[in-house]
Amino acid sequence: MQEKNRGLALFTFLVFVFLLGPLLIISITSFEGGSILKFPPEEYSFKWYENIFQVEMFLSTFKTSIIVSVAGNILALLLGVPAAYALSRFDFAGKGIINGIFVSPILIPGIVLGFSFLRYIVVAYDLPIYTSLFIGHTVIMLPFVIRVISSSLTNFDFSIEEAALSLGASRLGTFFSIVVPNIKSGIIAAVMIAFLESFNNVDISVYMTGPGVSTFPIQMLLYVENYFDPTVAAISVLLMIITALFMFIVERLMGLSYFTKR
């Protein structure tokens, strides 16, 4: 029995080397002092980190990504929180179908969704690229918002809502003063996860690039196809640090079970 465990432990260790090794390697190569990407680096320097800020396209697409993801997140919350509340609180005809519609953006392949956005939102509805990006990202963030808020409300004790009503509060007032404060951590976690998914998204953003407009991951993709220097490695490290930060905050707020629930 002990041997079995030791063998399994070794196997697991190797698997994690496989999972995390590449990320470690890319982090190390980001400190390359020379001019081409190689591992192990010949010399060490921060110059590729500086380079990020020299490349104009990185800065402007970063700004675009932030704006699109934040604005999309806000719209997703405005549309999704009331919907999640309605779906959790009430039973009604057609609930299954409506729930299905709200969940469907996750089920449709991103690369397909992006194409239909291009074909219809950009071309048929004739909306500018920036706006189309904003709309597209809202669509993909909406299911996340709804799923997380719904699960926060699953174990919610709605009798405190009734208590507030019996004391004279309006339905809207009750929602903001009683329901929202008690699902606060769920909302924050939902926002962070949705933001990460949107910021990192390639499959739909790749269709909606125009003169001077593009999202950050797409810019990274373009850069990699043309240059093979450690700039992208440096960007990767910075992104990983931010991701780790987000994860830390979500874990503090919601615990580890938040990630393992399906």
Binding site: D157, S159, I160, E162, A163, A164, L165, S166, L167, G168, A169, S170, R171, G173, I178, P181, N182
Partner: protein, 353 residues
């Protein structure tokens, strides 16, 4: 004059009828309990009064105004929930002040009223604590304070004590009654616990399957249950279906299997009823054998089962007219098979159907 009236109310849920043509009148200042088993409709009635439910037909009149369509947050009725429903993100003081803030009561006055309320429920000094820091009994008192501070026209309790342990329940119900009487506030109280309701109510409505079987003061119900359901619910375990009845002045004679039993008439006795009910504690039981004379209202019997209950012994006695459950305190209990005589005292049988 009735403070509020439920008139011909019908409520159905998921195609199941819970209340049909239901009527109830409550006088000002009274504490009325709705008592009954699960599913009898008592909670539905309470939530209807509060405004959480709408009836399909019928009217709810309050002080002669039609309140049927008035939404819950405009009724000014205090509601105390079974699981307290305290706002977890607010302090005790903020919980209690919630209703006052909505009514735009000035801050200084609100603070005073909250303090007064904390005194009334014996929770002085607890204002800054959070619900999670309180015990069950304390939370219940905050819930009561929160409902009272808004000076409601009616106070509604939904099984408020079921989540507390036995000792606490007894203390809390005394508190609730004390506060209710002190403030003279009309109260409707729902529970499935008979002792609880009987000990604190002015009137009790015993409900069964959406109908009020009997509405009366506790003493009357206790002594003179009106129907078989009520009798069974409050502890009359023995029922005898008599074959015939003859009214004779002050008494009634009932017969079964050729045996005749005499029962005293009382003001609450209804004519024509022929089913008698007797409490296990009210029988007289004595050793007997066939050589002895049979006392009046007595039947010969044999002990079938003996159970020790702690305070008393419980016997199942089999007789020619059926098996009966009898409770008796005894130092020397009867044994199985013993021949006894079972006597029904003239004033201890109630006719219920």
């Amino acid at each position: 004059m009735a403070l509020f009236t439920l008139q011909d109310i019908s409520v159905a849920y998921n195609k199941k009828e819970i209340l049909k043509d239901f009527n109830l009148e409550i006088e000002k200042g009274q504490l009325v309990s709705l008592l009954g088993p699960s599913g009898c409709g008592k909670t539905t009635t309470l939530r209807l009064i509060a405004g959480f439910l709408q009836s399909n037909n019928g009217k709810f009149l309050f002080k002669d105004k039609d309140y049927t369509k008035v939404p819950v947050n405009k009724r000014n009725f205090g509601f105390v929930f079974q699981n307290y429903a305290l706002f977890p993100h607010m302090t005790v003081a903020d919980n209690i002040a919630f209703g006052l803030r909505l009514r735009k009561v000035p801050k200084a006055e609100a603070v005073k009223r909250v303090e007064r309320m904390l005194e009334i429920v014996n929770l002085e000094g607890y204002g800054k604590r959070f619900p999670s820091e309180l015990s069950g009994g304390q939370r219940q008192r905050v819930a009561i304070a929160r409902a009272l501070v808004i000076e409601p026209d009616i106070l509604l309790f939904d099984e408020p004590l079921s989540n507390l342990d036995a000792n606490l329940r007894v203390n809390m119900r005394v508190e609730i009654r004390r506060i209710q009487q002190e403030l003279g506030i009309t109260t409707v109280y729902v529970s499935h616990d008979q002792e609880e309701c009987f000990s604190i109510s002015d009137q009790v409505a015993i409900m069964n399957k959406g109908i009020i079987e009997q509405l009366s003061d506790p003493a009357t119900i206790y002594k003179y249950p009106a129907t078989k359901f009520v009798a069974d619910f409050i502890g009359f375990k023995n029922f005898i279906e008599f074959e015939s009845r003859e009214d004779k002045g002050d008494t009634v004679e009932l017969s079964k299997n050729g045996r005749v039993f005499t029962v005293e008439k009382h003001t609450h006795m209804s004519p024509n009823k022929k089913v008698g009910a007797v409490r296990p504690d009210d029988f007289l039981l004595a050793e007997w054998n066939e050589t002895q004379v049979l006392p009046s209202n007595g039947i010969p019997g044999k002990i079938k089962i003996t159970t020790f209950l702690g305070r008393s012994y419980q016997y199942v006695v089999s007789t020619p007219i059926g098996d009966f459950t009898v409770n008796k305190e005894m130092t020397a209990p009867y044994h199985v098979g013993q021949e006894v005589v079972l006597i029904i005292p003239k004033d201890q049988m109630v006719l219920v159907e």
